[in-house]
């Protein structure tokens, strides 16, 4: 579904990502792992179009690397960004409404809203509160619901568990598992490698902007992963 060839991201003279090849097939959950500063977020931002990048990004066989982010969304990509970035001054309902802005199926939007309220019951009570007043975990749930509201076929999750309490992290990963069970294709960026690998089909490990490992997630034993992280 998604195919990336020779992706490179540069900030001035610093190469954040170099010559990365990566692919995600339909129905897969792929984990993108690596230590801090390895280039994971830059990769995600390049896929969605928020940073300029060299190389090729393909969705369903079509080159999308020249498209602005909003048109990539319309091709079926969605991102729950790092740090959540909910619209703090808007209510939960307005956040969701914006995400549904490009959809024409009103009934579908209503059904989806109901579905997300079931998935994240905490949001239901807060529908008309400004999103900025939500807790970190609630904001993360809203960010995921918001990404889903655009009806993606490939969901990009950037650090969904960052800075959250263990109980909330547990819940977030339960939701990711449910989404996968429902057939959603997911590219998951995580610092919490153990959690991510338990769910993932395949994994890529980045180090210093380059690919260090790719293969089935279960083959990535913890000692191997450790050495990749430390830079063995």
């Amino acid at each position: 579904m998604l195919k990336i060839e020779k992706l490179s991201v540069r900030y001035g003279t610093v190469h954040a990502v170099q010559d990365l090849d990566l692919a995600v097939a339909e129905g897969e959950l792929v984990a993108l792992l690596g230590p801090n500063g390895a280039g994971k977020s830059s990769t995600i931002e390049a896929i969605i179009g928020l940073v300029a990048a060299g190389g090729r990004v393909e969705m369903d066989g079509q080159d999308i690397s020249r498209l602005p982010p909003e048109l990539r969304i319309r091709r079926g990509l969605a991102l729950s960004p790092e740090g959540r970035r909910v619209f703090a001054g808007l209510t939960v309902a307005e956040n969701l409404r914006l995400a549904a802005a490009t959809r024409r199926d009103r009934a579908g939007v209503r059904a989806d809203t109901d579905r997300f309220m079931e998935l994240f019951p905490v949001l239901r009570a807060r529908m008309h509160q400004p999103a900025g007043t939500l807790s970190g975990g609630e904001q993360q749930m809203l960010a995921i619901a918001r990404a889903l509201m655009t009806r993606p076929r490939l969901l990009l999750l950037d650090e969904p568990s960052l800075g959250l309490a263990p109980r909330i992290v547990q819940r977030i990963f339960e939701v990711i598992a449910e989404l996968k069970a429902g057939g959603m294709t997911i590219l998951l960026v995580e610092q919490n490698a153990a959690h991510a690998l338990r769910l993932a089909d395949r994994a890529y490990v980045l180090g210093a902007g380059r690919l260090q490992y790719q293969g089935p997630a279960r083959d990535l034993a913890s000692d191997r992963l450790m050495s990749l992280y430390i830079g063995g």
Binding site: I48, L50, P68, E70, G89
Partner: protein, 299 residues
């Protein structure tokens, strides 16, 4: 008593005009972080469009109102495409100076192609009549200004809170990149903001024309400068602050007009600005402002 009411209406009408223009500035600033110094020239462009229409024989007041508003929207959207889009992601200062440059260019183009001197344009003077409301003589223009400002303000609030585009504009004021992540076209949101701002400029042009009965290259510049001051009083970037600041400015001006003897009329402007500066001493961030530092634009 009648005098007091008269001056109250006067203050409200002045304030309404400033508030309208300040809102036009604030809409663009809050979303784009652009300090649009060329806004006065958008107002002037609307007025010149009416002048040209009259010159070719289109002299219906109602059509002139429509034309002024259409021209305001067109000029505003056009300026965004031509001049402001290249500096959209640049720092605040770059955008401010660009707009300042555009303002100079347009003012001088009006001079070059039309005339440096004011041109008489009495077409809309009919809007400004003296009405008798009970025992009171009031200006129809002032009533209209007040009513229009209230309606426009209400419509703006409705638009920003009830329509998807309006919500997107509010969201974009905080985090433009994430708005694009919702599949919403950035250019559309920006164009909408500029169109809205241009619409308000067109309305302002109608009022200025009705009051002055003439057009001049710098007719918008001084008005916009006052509207900027209104924004600063109210808190830069806040829509409610812009409206409030405009009203405060109207009351200061009319207050001075009432209190100052006629022979000191010349220093009214000077005193107004002095009072404003004193206000800022008390509240540097403005009446409704949250402190916004230079370089906050990306945040």
């Amino acid at each position: 008593m009648e005098y007091a009411l008269q001056q109250l209406l006067n203050a409200l009408a002045f304030g309404a005009e400033y508030a309208l223009v300040a809102l036009g500035l604030a809409v663009v600033f809050s979303i784009m972080g652009l300090v649009n110094f060329a806004y006065g020239e958008i107002i002037a462009a609307s007025a010149y469009a009416v002048l040209l229409a009259v010159a070719v024989g289109l002299a219906a007041p109602l059509a002139a109102v429509g034309l002024a508003i259409a021209m305001g929207i067109l000029a505003s959207v056009l300026l965004e495409r031509v001049a402001f889009r290249p500096v959209r992601r640049a720092p605040l200062t770059t955008g401010l100076l660009t707009a300042f440059g555009v303002s100079i260019v347009l003012q001088n183009l009006f001079q070059l192609f039309i005339s440096p001197r004011p041109q008489a344009l009495p077409l809309l003077n009919g809007l400004n009549q003296t009405l008798m409301v009970g025992p009171y003589a009031v200006s129809s223009l002032q009533l209209m200004q007040l009513a229009t400002a209230i309606v426009a303000g209400g419509a703006l609030v409705w638009f920003l809170n009830r329509t998807t585009l309006g919500i997107a504009m509010r969201a974009a004021a905080g985090d433009f990149a994430t708005v694009r992540l919702q599949g919403i076209r950035a250019d559309r949101v920006v164009a909408a903001a500029f169109a809205l701002s241009g619409l308000l400029a067109g309305i302002a042009a109608v009022f200025v024309l009705a009051r002055r009965g003439s057009v001049a290259p710098d007719m918008g510049f001084m008005l916009v400068l006052k509207a900027f001051v209104a924004c600063v009083i109210g808190g830069f970037g806040s829509l409610a602050g812009a409206a409030l600041g405009g009203m405060v400015l109207g009351f200061i001006e009319v207050g001075l007009l009432v209190l100052l003897p006629a022979e000191y009329g010349g220093i009214k402007e000077t005193l107004t600005y002095c009072i404003v500066i004193a206000l800022l001493l008390l509240r540097p961030e403005g009446l409704m402002g949250t402190r916004r530092e230079l370089g906050d634009k990306e945040a």
